[in-house]
Subunit: 354 residues, 2 copies
C-alpha cells in the first residue's frame, strides 16, 4: 500500500514542491504494476538474460501502459559513463564547422554516444567556461577547437580521465592530441601557385597571430616568397581582425598602394569572401587564392586550398574513441594534407589590372 502510490511516497516529508521530470513513472512503478521486483524490470529494460518470456511480457505491458522511459541521468550516475562527448566549436554558424561537427556526430553515433556542443565565439574565456561545463556533465570525452592559447585549465580533467582531442589548432601549453590541417604546406603551395603564374607582388590577409593556424599560414606565405627569392613589402601583409570592414580596407590598400599587389592570398574562408566582395565592388580583377573551400566556389571559379573538414572531425572523433576504448598512446599531432583546387581565380596572370 502507500508506497506503490506515486504521491506521496513518504508521508509528509522531503518531496520538494518544484517540478521534477513532470512526474514520470520509474522502474519501481513498473515493478509494482507488473507485480515483479525492481531488478527484473531493469533486466527487461536492458535486455539482460534471466527473465521468462511470460514475465517479460508482463513487464513490457506495464512499461507500455505507463509510458515508462528509463531515466538515463540516474543510469549515468550509477554506471559512471555518460555515453556522450562534448564538442567545443568556434562558431556553429561558420560553414567550415558544419561538415566537421557532422562527421564527429556520425562517429559518436556509431559508438552509441550523444554529442553535446556549443560555440566559444572565439572567446577564450567562453571556451573554458563551456569546456568545464561539459566536464561537469561528465562527458566521456571532449573535442575542442581552441579559441584560446592556454589549455592548462583542462589538465586536471584530462588527468581524471576525460579523453580530449584538439582539432584545427593545437592545444596551448599542455601535451594533448591534436588533429590539424597542414596550414603551412597549404599556404606555401597556394602562394607558389600564384608565383608560378607569374606573380611577384602578392598580398596576404590573415587572422590574428594569436591563432596558430594564422601564423602557420603566414609562415607558408613567407616561405614560398623566400623560395622564389621574392621580397615582401610590409604593406602586403595584413593580420589582425577578419571583420569585414578591416579586410575590405586591407584589400583596397594593397590594390591601390604604391606597390600594388597583383595577387592575393586569403588566410581563411571569411577573408576570401570579404576580399571577393571588395574586389567586385571596386571592379578589380586580380588573382586570388583562398585557404578553405567554399560552397559555391566552383561556380565563382575561385581557386582554393581545400581542407577536408569532415576528415578532421572524423579523425579527431576516432582518436577520441580509441582512447575511450582504452588504447593509451602518447598524445600526438596528426596533420592532414590540403588540396589545391585550381578553378580560375588563381590562374589569372598579372598585368590584367585596370
Amino acid at each position: 500500500m502507500a508506497g506503490t502510490d506515486r504521491f506521496p511516497r513518504v508521508p509528509g516529508r522531503t518531496r520538494s514542491p518544484e517540478l521534477r521530470y513532470g512526474n514520470r513513472p520509474t522502474m519501481k512503478d513498473v515493478a509494482a504494476r507488473a507485480g515483479v521486483g525492481l531488478k527484473t524490470v531493469s533486466r527487461v529494460v536492458n535486455g539482460e538474460p534471466g527473465v521468462t518470456v511470460e514475465t517479460e511480457r508482463r513487464v513490457q505491458e506495464a512499461i507500455d501502459s505507463l509510458g515508462f522511459r528509463r531515466n538515463d541521468s540516474a543510469r549515468v550516475l550509477r554506471k559512471g559513463r555518460t555515453a556522450s562527448i562534448g564538442l567545443v566549436l568556434e562558431d556553429l554558424a561558420d560553414p567550415f564547422y558544419g561538415p566537421l561537427s557532422r562527421a564527429v556526430e556520425e562517429v559518436a553515433r556509431a559508438h552509441g554516444a550523444l554529442l553535446i556542443n556549443g560555440s566559444s565565439a572565439e572567446d577564450p574565456e567562453r571556451e573554458q567556461e563551456l569546456a568545464l561545463a561539459l566536464c561537469a556533465r561528465r562527458v566521456d570525452g571532449l573535442i575542442v577547437i581552441p579559441a584560446g592559447d592556454d589549455h592548462r585549465y583542462l589538465e586536471p580533467e584530462i588527468k581524471a580521465g576525460v579523453a580530449t582531442v584538439f582539432v584545427d589548432r593545437p592545444a596551448g601549453r599542455i601535451d594533448a592530441d591534436a588533429v590539424l590541417s597542414d596550414s603551412f604546406g597549404g599556404s606555401r603551395a597556394g602562394v607558389a601557385h600564384l608565383i608560378a603564374h607569374g606573380h611577384r607582388r602578392i598580398g596576404f590577409i590573415g587572422d590574428q597571430p594569436r591563432i596558430h593556424t594564422a601564423t602557420e599560414r603566414l609562415r607558408g606565405y613567407r616561405t614560398a616568397m623566400e623560395d622564389a627569392e621574392l621580397p615582401v613589402a610590409p604593406s602586403w601583409v595584413a593580420l589582425g581582425s577578419t571583420a569585414p570592414e578591416a579586410v575590405r580596407d586591407a584589400v583596397v590598400d594593397m590594390v591601390a598602394g604604391p606597390e600594388p599587389v597583383t595577387a592575393l592570398f586569403a588566410g581563411n574562408n571569411r577573408v576570401t569572401v570579404t576580399a571577393l566582395r571588395a574586389l567586385a565592388d571596386h571592379q578589380q580583377r586580380i588573382a586570388l587564392v583562398g585557404f578553405d573551400d567554399l560552397e559555391l566556389a566552383d561556380l565563382l571559379h575561385i581557386t582554393v586550398i581545400a581542407q577536408d573538414a569532415a576528415a578532421l572531425g572524423r579523425t579527431a572523433a576516432e582518436r577520441l574513441f580509441r582512447r575511450l576504448d582504452g588504447i593509451d598512446d602518447r598524445p600526438a599531432q596528426v596533420t592532414l594534407k590540403t588540396t589545391l583546387i585550381p578553378r580560375g581565380s588563381g590562374e589569372i596572370p598579372p598585368g590584367t589590372i585596370h
Copy 2:
C-alpha cells in the same frame, strides 16, 4: 577512518572493476579534507549563504587542491532539471542549419542551458530514435526539425512535461508548437516576381511531397501561376529526390523539353545550387529564383526568397524557454515572413535562350 579513503570505500564489496569517472574526488572527499560536513561543501560549491568566510576558505582550498568539480549528473538526478535542451536537426552540415542552431544555442546559453544535438539525416526512424534518446537523458526541452510526418511517439513525453517546439516544418498528427517560414507566401511571391518579369513558362523543382515545406512551396508556385492565369504543364514540375543527379536531369529536361521553360523556381538551397551548376554546365542562362539564401549568392547575383534561419531558431528557443518558465499557452504555430532579395538572376527576361 577507512571511509574517508577513496579506495576501497567499503571493505570488499560492490565497487565494480570498470572505470568510473577516472576516480574523481567527490564532495565527501572535499568535506573530509576540509574537516567539515558534506552539506557545507555543497553550500560553498553552490554559493549558498550561511557559511563563514573562514569555513568557505578552508573548503575552497580543499576543492582546489583536490581538483574537485561538481558532478552534474548527480545534481541533475537530485534536482530533476537537467538545464539542457535537445535539438534534432535534419543535417548539421546543411548551411541553412548553422545559423539556426547557433541562434538556439545563444538563447540556451542565456538561460544557462546546454545544447545536445544530432542529425536525423532526413530519416524519420532516426529522428525518433534521437528524440527519444534525448528524452531518456531528461532534457528539459526539445526542438525538432521534423524528418517524419508522425510525431505521436512524442505524446507521452510532452504529456510528461518535456517542452517541445517544432521548427521549419510542423509536427505530424499531434498538436504542438511550431515555428515556420512562410513557404507558401514566399514561393508565391518568388514565382510572381518571375511572372512580373515576363515569364510564362516557369519550372518548379522541389523536395518530396512528404515534406510539408515542399508541398507548401509547390502550392505557392501553383497559386502564383493561377493568379496570373497561366497554365502549368506537367513536365514543368519535378518533385522527389533532391539528389544532384535527379535535379540535374530535371533541369535539363525542362530546358530542352518540347515546351522549354524560360525560368526556374528552386524549392530549396540544395536544389538552387545544383540547378545553377547544371545551367552553367550547359551554358544556359535562364531566370532563376531560389528558396533559401546562400552564402555567396550576392556575388553570383542569385535572386532568392530568404528565410531568416537565425530568427527561426531564436523564436523556437524562446518559445521553449517560455514554456519551461511555466507559461502554458495553447500550442500554436508561428509563421515568419520571408524576403525576396532581387540580385539579378530573377530579373533576366525570357527570350535570352540560345
